[in-house]
Symmetry: C2
């Protein structure tokens, strides 16, 4: 809709512009553009039509018919352009809605009119024009017609790299709050329009590419272009007055399903709960139930890696159930039924072990241990790395003591002879008088298994065992437990190495190798 204001001004202009002295005309018309207001269209405009340019267009068409099509361009410049320009100065058409830009950057080819409309449509206070040697001569017309300061930047017509660099440079300047423009860091980003209407394909493509690339970092950036909404088939050219500045939507806004890509990106970075959120939204957005199964898969993994085996195995069972249904036979996840089944089995075993605390559930212990070891490997912060590794090793020793000797760390029922031997072993490891408590801690367990002649641990040198002892003490003195230390990488490695050896032995025992890799996402 052209607003009332637009119509009023338009009416004034066409009826009285010729007669009024310069200073009495509304500000917006005190410009230096040519003003041969074409009187042929006056009658139609006086009738108060909603689209004043229609009359002008009709008059123009008649003139082209009368004077011949080789005069079309000249007639357009004379009869149509001034009106179009005046209209855009007060009422630029912007689709899908008006947006206030503070900066606009334009490529310029050999049709300056489109760029002029784009500059008026964007309405920015700072205007940069990327021009070529050829198109430099239009800069003056653009300054005159828009009444704005223009900052020209000369580039080669095929030099997309240069365009990237210029856009990058300008965005940096803007982000640093150059001039009156707000800085990114102050919370609100300066709105910037990149207009690709004019220029060679390479120039437009370069600017569009820069725009969509930098949008990742600079959210208030829009790629825009001027297009016509109507085509005059008789004249075989776009209809004047049907121009609009279009803000190119972000593909993400248009293609809701793109969220699936974002979900996959998070998934591959092991942010399963982030991915689950995306899939959940996708079900609502697309009404496609297939995404619900991905959501369940992600929640299963999210719970798994948060050590919540109960909910992880529940999710897993639900997923298998769904995949077993006829309606889901073609679901991409159905191709991975075998692997999924094994993973859910492992989660179920881990949950059964954790819930029952029954160390006889060796496969469950293996599931928990493998999870802790993977967490330790992935973690970068040494205090957490140590914690995971320590707990994995402790569980492995507990399982081993129970499996091979039927003893439990929290109730070891030591015979007097065993207690004596264990105390001697510990004292030699720690090089000081040692005392055995009610429960066996990690180092006690290790020493006790050696006392019991464990084939795997017996053979280690005292030096090796002392290394372990130091590492264990470092964990207990950790800033995160009761002390104020941060374990060293070397200490963590000692624990990890030991744990991995025991884990391998357990895998051989259980005849099972846990598969901890997330299922591939394909859709």
């Amino acid at each position: 809709m052209l607003s009332l204001l637009g119509e009023q001004i338009w009416g004034k202009m066409s009826l009285r512009a010729q007669k009024r002295p310069e200073e009495q005309r509304p500000t917006v018309f005190r410009r230096r553009y040519p003003r041969p207001w074409n009187l042929r269209s006056e009658k139609m405009e006086r009738s108060g039509e909603a689209k004043p340019l229609e009359a002008i267009w009709q008059a123009y068409k008649e003139a082209v018919k009368a004077e011949g099509s080789n005069r079309a361009q000249a007639l357009y410049q004379e009869m149509v352009w001034p009106h179009l320009l005046a209209l855009w100065k007060t009422e630029p058409r912007v689709r899908p809605m008006q947006k206030e830009f503070r900066v606009s950057i334009h490529t310029l080819g050999t049709s300056p009119e489109a760029t002029i409309l784009a500059i008026l449509g964007a309405g920015a206070e700072k205007v940069y024009v990327l021009h070529t040697a050829e198109s430099e001569r239009y800069l003056e017309q653009i300054r005159k017609d828009t009444g704005k300061e223009i900052y020209p930047i000369r580039i080669g017509k095929s030099n997309v790299a240069r365009i990237y660099e210029e856009v990058h440079r300008l965005l940096k300047e803007i982000a640093q709050g150059g001039g009156t423009l707000k800085a990114v860091s102050q919370g609100e980003e300066t709105p910037v329009a990149l207009d690709i209407t004019s220029g060679t394909k390479a120039m437009s493509a370069g600017l569009a590419a820069a725009g969509f690339f930098f949008q990742r970092f600079y959210k208030n950036l829009r790629v825009v272009y001027v297009d016509n909404e109507e085509y005059d088939t008789e004249l075989r050219r776009p209809r004047a007055g049907s121009e609009a500045l279009f803000l190119l939507p972000n593909p993400h806004e248009v293609v809701g399903e793109v969220d699936a890509f974002f979900a996959r990106e998070l998934y591959s970075n092991r942010d399963f709960s982030g991915a689950a959120d995306y899939f959940k939204r996708l079900v609502g957005k697309t009404n496609q139930l297939k995404y619900a199964l991905y959501n369940t898969l992600c929640e299963m993994y999210a719970n798994w890696w948060a050590l919540d085996f109960k909910n992880a195995s529940k999710q897993g069972e639900g997923l298998l159930n769904q995949l077993g249904k006829d309606s889901n036979l073609n679901h991409p996840l159905a191709r991975h039924m075998g692997r999924l089944q094994k993973q859910v089995d492992l989660l179920r075993e881990a949950d059964a072990f954790v819930s029952s605390k029954d160390l006889g559930r060796s496969k469950g212990v293996l599931g928990v241990v493998a999870t802790l070891l993977r967490l330790s490997e992935e973690e970068k912060r040494p205090f957490l790395k140590a914690l995971y590794a320590y707990r994995a090793l402790e569980l492995l020793l507990q399982e081993r003591l129970y499996r091979l000797h039927g003893r439990r760390a929290d109730e070891p029922n030591l015979s007097p002879g065993e207690r004596e031997k264990l105390q001697a072993e510990l004292s030699s490891i720690l090089s000081e008088e040692a005392r055995v408590g009610k429960r066996l801690g990690l180092l006690d367990l290790f020493a006790f298994l050696r006392v019991l002649g464990d084939p795997l641990l017996k053979g280690e040198s005292l030096e090796e065992v002392q290394g372990l002892s130091g590492a264990v003490q470092a964990r207990n003195a950790s800033l995160l437990i009761h002390g104020l230390e941060v374990p060293s990488e070397k200490q963590v490695d000692i624990i990890l190495k030991k744990a991995k050896r025991l884990r391998q032995e357990l895998e051989r025992q259980v005849r099972f190798q846990p598969d901890l890799e997330p299922i591939d996402l394909e859709f």
Copy 2:
């Protein structure tokens, strides 16, 4: 360089094509394009020139001069195009280097020749053409000239949304391994070219936008276009033979400094060590030492949030030192000297406390506690959330006992009367007979402060205190400590709430509020 093969074929074609029967000509010429091999240029070609099209172009120029410029287009079609086409079928020119595409997608406007060259340049086995109602009529010529199957997709000339959707649909199909194309999940992505040469600006912009957007998820996607490298000023048109298919580089490859944006992205996601890596690379890439200071800042934060206060404060001191130099007076970080100074002070205090274990360093305790509480708030996994919160509360109670009563948790020196009262207090909290050990754990500390009449803790109801007791026990039974449980959110909240109250009291005491927010990055 046109290879030998290209020259040989070119030579054969121009010399003998007219005389040879269809079946004897090399395979590459058994196509259905018009073959009026223009004999005017034969002489020049026979001389074995490196650029055979040069001769043809000269002949074409002469013909235009002789027959008039209104015949230019027809003469081009007759004299130049068939040769150009034949050349591109064997030796397409691709810049910066040849790349094998498996799929290509093209916008099509009213100049099919450019699209034909793009199809031959991309050399894909699957070719999709996004055409309008107007440009549909060129499909046949494209099929004929390229000799390829074309999959037409009709769109509106201004409908960028539709282009996004089509590209998305096609990429999904490709990723699912439709036909002979490799699936993303099989590790290697099918190379796809998006050619924006032909079509309206809206179509090209839409395709470019889709390309650069989806490149984030689909790495083997390239936006390409055909451009001319030379212009014939006499004829005022691009010189035939100087065409090339350009692979539009990713702005990231061109503008190395863009890494600063990636660094900032990681920084705002609190991945400080990832950001540090980017800044380190930037110093090498740009030779700008200013990035070294950002690198140090990131390393300081990375160490801080990994609880390594020693290295964090060292980095901080180094940074302040650098920023104090004249040469860095204008560094953007220099504007934040005040805040930085305070953060480094806090880190120094925290390090001094952790190194000396001196609970009298209240500000250092506050620094460590504030860090642990922030870690707990940010952590999503309950078992870690609990661990941070628990350790923060324990430290606060230790500091309090020391500050108000000069006692230490690891050596409480309880009088017989105190021991008795503490045991009674603990027994009433736990509703069972309690024993006080050599050191005071978290709950012991809490109970002992109550026994000592602590004004802040004394007033709490037994019910409240019992809630805390449950939460503390849950932490000790955590899967990550010695048990097999995962603490609940509610239990963590109880600990956090208690810790925050004590922290506020400590802040009042020390008259200091830690500033844990990372400094804004501006560059």
